[in-house]
Point group: C2
Chain length 334, copies 2
């Protein structure tokens, strides 16, 4: 028998705690995405299927594009959650308690807290912390947990886990995609993952308001003289004009990002009276986390964000100044 | 020893012919894409590496986004191709001779013609026809040829074949993606495929003119009352205004396509005085090939195109009429 590595040990601990609990609360992060929802969908499907009382909490409602996932009717918000005293709390895809939002009150009870995550800077807030920053998505970890437990993976569970992988890797495009991720995706297809449904619901069900918003926003494109910095600006007026909601802003930052030569892409989004949320994406070697951190923001090297006060012009000047100082000087042709 | 299946036999024939030829001409289709260019890049790299004289022909120049592929300086057009009498001609990713364009003159010589393709309706125009409609991309077939030949796959070849897979499957999103495709992608990553480079060059190097064009075109979005048909229109004036070229129209049809509820997406593109090219995409069960064929067009069930004469209003009326008759009647709520 092989010696158990530490990761396996954590999985064994989690499975043992699950075997002793009959009421389990799963928690995912605010503004939920395909990874945390796919992961929680697979877990809810499994745990409820084996007769446990399992429900999930999320600060925000499940976006329309993820409602097709199994068991999403068991994901509650603060106002809808039934009376429930969990014997075990499992938090998925949250780097720290701040990501849980108001749900962090569930961490104060008697129930032990299991923290399952793949973010580099996880704050280890659980009693058991299973953090694997090599995993492309939490869905990959949930799959490993299923394998360790010898749980049969149903087509519903395969669909949920595939959704995690597909969304957190940008359809297997981002650098976090490993050979292991792709082989797992292949296995999940063979286990019955409904990949056509995932593609259609997640990537091909944009509301018309998104196209309207894009049409409003693209003319705000600004590119620096050297072509290395590009930005878009979303005002509240543009949102109203387009009939758009928060979710429709998803992916807007990709438009400056995918321009040839751009190293840093920015999205300035009016969040309130003289308050702007700034999104940063890096396409080269620039560490945008280091820039966002200067303004009290967070994220990681390739994708970060922060919030700033001031007029749009003031905010732009501050942010562009910081971005410019982080760029390598251009070589002057001799 | 296993009995050889017919596909293996064709590969053996191809490898035998390659072993007897010292001058090989590879041909790919007009308006070349990532699949045919990735496939030809892998073949050129291998054949030239083993000392053969191998060059490639394409009617159109290699788009900027694919120039990073190895050996692209050996892909010539009619005006640039050196004097060359091939002993063997290999045509890749062409369903029929029409797709080769002016290059079809190379099929009239003494050299035997090998036809490697994955389109359903391939016209079998070669002396050897290796057509596998189950392959997600020709790159998958080239990989199998390498394996059959026991050729070492260099990181350059892996990069080229990965580009084929990634582009012809829409980043592993389309229904042609199989478990085998994903496992092959995993293997290619381990063989050194430069996936970050592929992503950046192919998907993240759009010119600014593309964003300008998109901003011009999105306001032309029209959606039918029942939400099942959506279209965009590209006029020559919009192209000029945006400073855009033909290649910048790539992907525009995705914007009506990814709207929720849309079953048929259309792109009307002004190609000349009262001449319009019409692109069709199907998201549901509608066979858009059947529609395009009514107008003398071609393609397949999910993606087709045709060319029509008339004013924009006339062309729209004709096409929308045909699309409407192909839609199932809506159920009337009782």
């Amino acid at each position: 028998m092989d010696l158990m590595n530490p990761v396996d040990l954590q999985q064994q601990q989690i499975l043992q705690m699950l075997s002793q609990a009959s009421k389990v609360l799963l928690i995912v992060h605010k503004v939920p995405d395909g990874d945390c929802l796919g992961s929680v969908s697979a877990m809810l499907t499994r745990l409820r299927g084996q007769g446990l009382q399992a429900i999930a909490y999320c600060d925000d409602p499940v976006p329309d594009s993820y409602r097709f996932l199994p068991a999403m009717d068991q994901v509650f918000q603060a106002s809808t959650i039934p009376e429930f005293t969990p014997e075990l709390v499992i938090v998925i895809d949250c780097a720290d308690e701040g990501r849980i939002g108001d749900g962090s009150r569930f961490l104060q009870g008697q129930a032990p807290v299991i923290n399952i995550d793949h973010h580099v800077g996880n704050s280890q807030f659980g009693h058991i912390n299973w953090v694997d920053s090599q995993a492309a998505a939490c869905g990959e970890m949930i799959y490993r947990l299923c394998t360790t437990a010898s749980w049969h993976i149903t087509d519903d569970m395969a669909t949920a886990i595939y959704t995690s992988l597909m969304t957190d890797t940008g359809s297997f495009q981002y650098a976090n995609t490993t050979p292991q991720t792709l082989r797992l995706a292949a296995d999940l297809r063979e286990m019955g993952a409904r990949t056509d449904e995932i593609r259609e619901k997640v990537f091909e069900s944009r509301p018309r308001a998104f196209v309207n918003l894009l049409a409003q926003i693209l003319p705000t494109l600004e590119v620096s003289d050297d072509g290395r910095v590009a930005s878009l600006t979303v005002t509240r007026e543009a949102m109203v004009q387009a009939g758009a909601s928060e979710g429709d802003c998803d992916g807007l930052i990709n438009y400056p990002r995918f321009l040839a030569g751009v190293q840093v892409a920015l999205l300035f989004k009016e969040a309130g009276e003289e308050i702007f949320r700034v999104g940063f994406r890096s396409k080269g070697n620039i560490d945008v986390y280091a820039i966002a951190r200067q303004f009290g923001g967070g994220g990681h090297r390739k994708a970060s964000g922060c919030t700033l006060s001031g007029t749009l012009a003031e905010v732009k000047q501050q942010v562009l100044g910081a971005v410019r100082s982080s760029l390598e000087p251009l070589e002057i042709p001799t």
